[in-house]
Symmetry: C2
DNA sequence: CAGACTTGCGCAATCGTTTGTGCTGCGGAT
DNA sequence: ATCCGCAGCACAAACGATTGCGCAAGTCTG
């Protein structure tokens, strides 16, 4: 049955009535496009076009633009994010998955991510999986249900495929459809080793990372390669590995004690990270060895404590902020389809090297 | 002009045609309610009610519920966040404003916030203002335009009033409409001072925080009060203050050197935070004083470095994670109007005390 | 002065959900 | 046989913004 004129009339009036009531908006502030338009005596269309900077394209008179913009400002108009998202199918939001947000690594990367995203008016959701498999499985779905347009995985290996662009910061097995931002481990190794080499060190000990850490492999491969080219022989007896998931300096302390027990002489230690370097220094001091006089120590990361510990740590600095920034910018490019994935699978970030007091010329005795 | 039957027919068919095309959804995955309903031969209404657990209320037959749920699962139906938000005016999202995310303080608080929020299916946006006034002004608005239902300000003083519930973690001047989560500074001071008191310390030096830091005032007030009750005299000559915005241990180093120059004897220092305590230790060592034998040092915060530095730092631990959790849970209660603001203006969180190696019995000489 | 452009703007459909109200059978009470 | 009530579902109007077309004046061309 088609409604007749009478009914339509009535309905239309009811509608008007409803529209007249002050709509309580999300956030409780501001007015809707409709109210703004009514206030101006213009159509929704026109106002919308002005607000979207599409005025030229649709030839809105400059005077009208002025009026609209002023009214928008004075009425405190803010477009409703839901309505806009619903219509445009874009949320200007990305998801970030990290192992643990309270850790310095993730937080530094996030800082870079945030800067890059906010510049483009994007926001981000953060979730931390804490290495729990169920969360690793659930979070991407949760993020997608929040309509994120892309995902950044920080030091995290995503399980299944994801229907939006994904950028990984370290820690992702190279995989189809995932752009990885990683440190240039070769340059990093070259920094650390040639520094020691130039100081005269030849018998160098190494503390590798835990096996579960994704950087362990690539960093060690780079180390081997650089030693090769420098002519440094890697003595298997001088290689140890961090064990256990304990954070902080403890694992490095343990590894160094093991190293010392092997009674093989070495004049320097290259550590997997600063935390373990600090542990190494403690162990060396306990063994009566003075850093850097007897043994030089090189760290990795440049965490804040690296500068404050005595002796201050010579270390390879990971530009985490920059890695985050790059990740975010790449993700945006992928979302906007300005770049496609095939040509580049990973972007290398160049580390810095910070020379402090924990390394010195090899002693002559 | 009313459309006649003919036109309506045509329009309706056009409509059907459009609806038939596979709608590319946000996130590129799943089907819409409409498709799900069509698939089931049911109305949108019914399916929606089942999906929203409102089946009882509207007497949907159990068999129907079953069918709906199964179809939803098999078709991978996910409600569109925009449409739902638009309709229900709720985003299940809050905003978090921090000074700097890469700093340990904010990151730890965020960790607690995240846990509490995700439990309730809320997500959060993070923005860091870096003490820039323009951002402090802009971010609340930006967050509101993203329809956040509440805001958590971490160590940050919001400028204007905000039309959604606000919870502050430290750093907020007590203000109407803002619930503040803060450390119980009195207990904290009692921990630190009675520890030193019991070790025999009477001549105690203090390093206060920078004036811009919001905790400086309340922590000092508590210190004065506790000294009073313990009968410890505060010698103005033994009180210094951190200067400058430099992060890390430098300000503490400088403050301690100043203290030493005053040539007033003291057997212990109570520092504003761990970072400055580390600086203090460095300065003391340089002056030939051994910690803790000659001077005991107490920190505040319990940052990771506190445990690794030598000597390991005795310090007051701020339960940042718990403060974040409490903030988030309170905010949710405010949003749901389960609690109102008037009765409680601030929630005190009790600190812990960690005894390590930087404090010792006062030496007899 | 008629037709062809251009200028400046409005109509109305659409995005996907939610929800107040209504409508249809069917069984039991009278 | 009539009426009532309830079980079980559907209608259709929002929510607020975007956008392909379309249309009326005004300007220009010849």
């Amino acid at each position: 049955m088609l409604p007749n004129k009478e009914e339509l009339k009535i309905r239309s009036e009811k509608t008007k009535l409803r529209r007249a009531r002050p709509a309580k908006q999300v956030g409780g502030h501001g007015v809707s496009l409709r109210e703004l338009a009514a206030h101006l005596g213009l159509s929704l269309t026109t106002v919308s076009r002005v607000m979207n900077h599409a005025a030229k394209e649709y030839r809105i008179a400059p005077a009208t633009q002025q009026r609209v913009l002023e009214a928008a400002a004075s009425l405190n108009y803010h477009p409703n994010a839901f309505a806009r998202g619903l219509r445009k199918k874009r949320s200007s939001t990305v998801g970030v998955i990290v192992p643990e947000i309270s850790e310095g690594y993730a937080a530094s990367v996030l800082s870079g991510i945030e800067d890059a995203l906010l510049q483009e008016k994007f926001f981000y959701f953060v979730v931390s999986h804490r290495h729990r498999a169920d969360l690793l499985d659930e979070y991407p779905r949760l993020l997608l249900s929040r309509a994120v347009e892309g995902i950044i995985a920080v030091d995290t290996r995503l399980l299944g495929p994801v229907p939006v662009p994904v950028v990984a910061v370290s820690g992702h097995r190279r995989k189809n459809g995932v752009l990885t931002i990683e440190l240039d481990h070769l340059t990093a190794a070259r920094y650390a080793l040639s520094h020691l080499f130039d100081l005269g060190h030849r018998k160098i000990a190494f503390i590798k990372g835990q096996t579960f850490s994704s950087d362990t492999r690539s960093r060690w491969d780079a180390t081997v390669k650089v030693c090769d080219s420098l002519g440094i022989r890697i003595d298997p007896q001088l290689v140890t590995q961090l064990e256990g998931i304990a954070p902080g300096s403890e694992p490095g302390y343990v590894a160094t004690r093991e190293l010392l027990q092997r009674e093989r002489r070495f004049s320097a230690i290259v550590c997997f990270n600063d935390a373990s370097a600090i542990g190494a220094i403690t162990a060396l001091h306990e063994a009566g060895l003075v850093v850097p006089h007897d043994v030089s120590v090189v760290g990795f990361d440049d965490i804040p404590a690296a500068a404050t510990i005595r002796p201050a740590l010579t270390t390879v600095r990971q530009p985490l902020y920059e890695m985050g920034r790059t990740a975010a910018m790449s993700l945006l490019s992928l979302i906007r389809e300005e770049i496609s994935l095939s040509p580049l699978r990973s972007i290398l970030i160049t580390p810095d090297f910070v020379t402090r007091q924990s390394t010195a010329i090899v002693s002559k005795d």
